[in-house]
Symmetry: C2
Subunit: 315 residues, 2 copies
């Protein structure tokens, strides 16, 4: 533990081979005799040698770092995705730089600029409405979008339409005929409008009269919009997120109404506080893992861009 760092040179001397042989071993090249490789690997393990990232980066001109830009660190959904992303990245011997966009395109642009300057190899970006092709144009083939999609860029998106469909069908099967909706406009256009449109589509299909309101992702917005659109006749409510649902439920309880609530997210908090809410889980962990796998494939040149949809399910 106290010995100074060993170098590739030391390992070469200790195992009686040349530097380049050791280098080949490290990089899993096929061009080393099996006996030699095993001997060198034994020495490496014995002395606990690890190649210097700095030297590798300098020599190869690649930094082995992935930038991860979330919209909010305290978003429960993004948190779960990050939990899958970080270990996967570390496991691939990459480092991760985590940043927060706060849904601000200017801030995002700054972050991407920093990442570019640091020679970061790839980026995983949680989308929002301010993300456009221009901002990320320098990252073709080395950026994966999560939760929103853009032509020519890889993306992993949630099955927003499927989630609303599940909820609408469930409500219908449970006999609800008066189903309202509270969603979002501002977060991510795709997410927001897909969910809303799907709600409208199913209203029409089922012959329901749509009653909807759109706001932001906060508890307060859920509360305010609930006050605006709910009536004693409302029998069910679908919310675009758990935070909105918690806000709406607060209002519903204050009124003493009985309204069945369905929500997209399925956070532990919701499951605990309101177990009778119908929760759809979008698959955040799966999305995170998928995104980092996809990015790694792209960096290896095994894929260009690709669009993945993560399936959802009622909890």
């Amino acid at each position: 533990m106290s010995d100074k760092k060993l170098t590739l040179n030391d390992i070469a001397r200790l195992s009686g081979v040349g530097k380049s042989t050791v280098s080949l071993v490290i990089n899993n090249s096929e061009k080393v005799k099996k006996a030699t490789r095993e001997h060198v690997e034994a020495i490496i393990k014995q002395y606990g040698y690890t190649p210097s990232k700095a030297a590798q980066a300098l020599r190869s001109q690649r930094e082995k770092i992935i930038g991860v830009v979330v919209t909010r660190l305290d978003s429960a959904s993004e948190n779960r995705a990050i939990r899958a992303i970080l270990p996967h990245i570390y496991q691939q011997e990459y480092d991760a730089i985590l940043m927060e966009s706060l849904l601000d395109p200017k801030l995002l642009e700054g972050h991407l600029h920093v990442l570019e300057q640091r020679n970061v190899e790839g980026v995983i970006l949680f989308g929002f409405s301010g993300v456009n092709k221009k901002i990320i144009k320098n990252w073709k083939n080395k950026l994966v979008l999560i939760a929103s999609a853009l032509p020519d860029f890889a993306s992993v998106i949630y099955d927003n339409a499927g989630a609303v469909k599940l909820l609408m069908e469930k409500m219908k099967n449970d006999g609800h005929r008066n189903v309202s909706y509270i969603g979002v406009t501002s977060n991510d256009i795709t997410t927001g409008s897909t969910r809303y449109q799907t709600y409208l589509t199913y209203c029409e299909k089922f012959g329901y009269r749509p009653t909807a309101a759109l706001g932001d992702l906060s508890y307060q917005s859920g509360y305010d919009l609930a006050k605006e659109i709910l009536t004693p006749e409302t029998s069910a409510l679908i919310c675009a997120s758990d935070t909105i649902a918690l806000g709406a439920i607060k209002y519903i309880k204050e009124q003493g109404w009985e309204i069945k609530v369905g929500s997209i997210g399925s956070t532990p908090l919701m499951t605990f506080l309101q177990p009778d809410v119908i929760s759809v889980r979008l698959g955040y962990q799966e999305a995170g893992l998928k995104a980092s796998q996809l990015l790694m494939d792209m960096l290896r040149g095994e894929k260009t861009h690709e669009h993945v949809i993560i399936p959802c399910a009622i909890q």
Copy 2:
């Protein structure tokens, strides 16, 4: 944007000076004539040159990376601290590697090992009961503990005693004589026992009969322990965290009781859902910022270790 990266050499040529002069300018050395420095800086800005991290690291043998190990990514309190830490680290031209210990000493040990191998310069570690001197012994003078303290290591801790004191005094002033307590054992010994002990101390001081239970930080634990110790006679309850409080409140509401709840944390969720809860904010952001400032000072050799207590306040 499309030009290949400039090197220090290019800048030297372009500004008609030697490489080392440029190096000195980059590193803000005092030993450069003002005119020369300004000229070189102008060229640097004009061409948008940024020094190669890899080369700097290789040459100087320092990686300019800080490891940040939280207990849980989805902890609201740690989240707020991270929000202060990351920007501060990036701003100092450092990178941050974020990891999650999940309160598991083995996992933490693995993470610290990885960080050591990557030549990470310093670590900010969110403490829990499994953290001991042995695990972090290799990090003397380059590690700052948050939320717990250990001799010979720098730490930034919350004013746990002060928080409970504030709550107890407030309850007393509001006329409550039957004040229960729900806390934690498992998370962090210091945090858990300090808060509990302070509760006991003030019970004695005020002549109250203590009624307390200790569990973990989950909603469920709060709920279960509430069921265990609360009675219709209980007039107030102090909870060691917002999550516990939310669990306890659920039980209280189910019983239809009127119990004044005080809690430590002051998360937006709590403020929204239960505005009448008395919340003490511990100063997470301040703690995060303080910790990274302290670490930077230590890395610069300006400080060795130091213990900082962040003041708390009723929201």
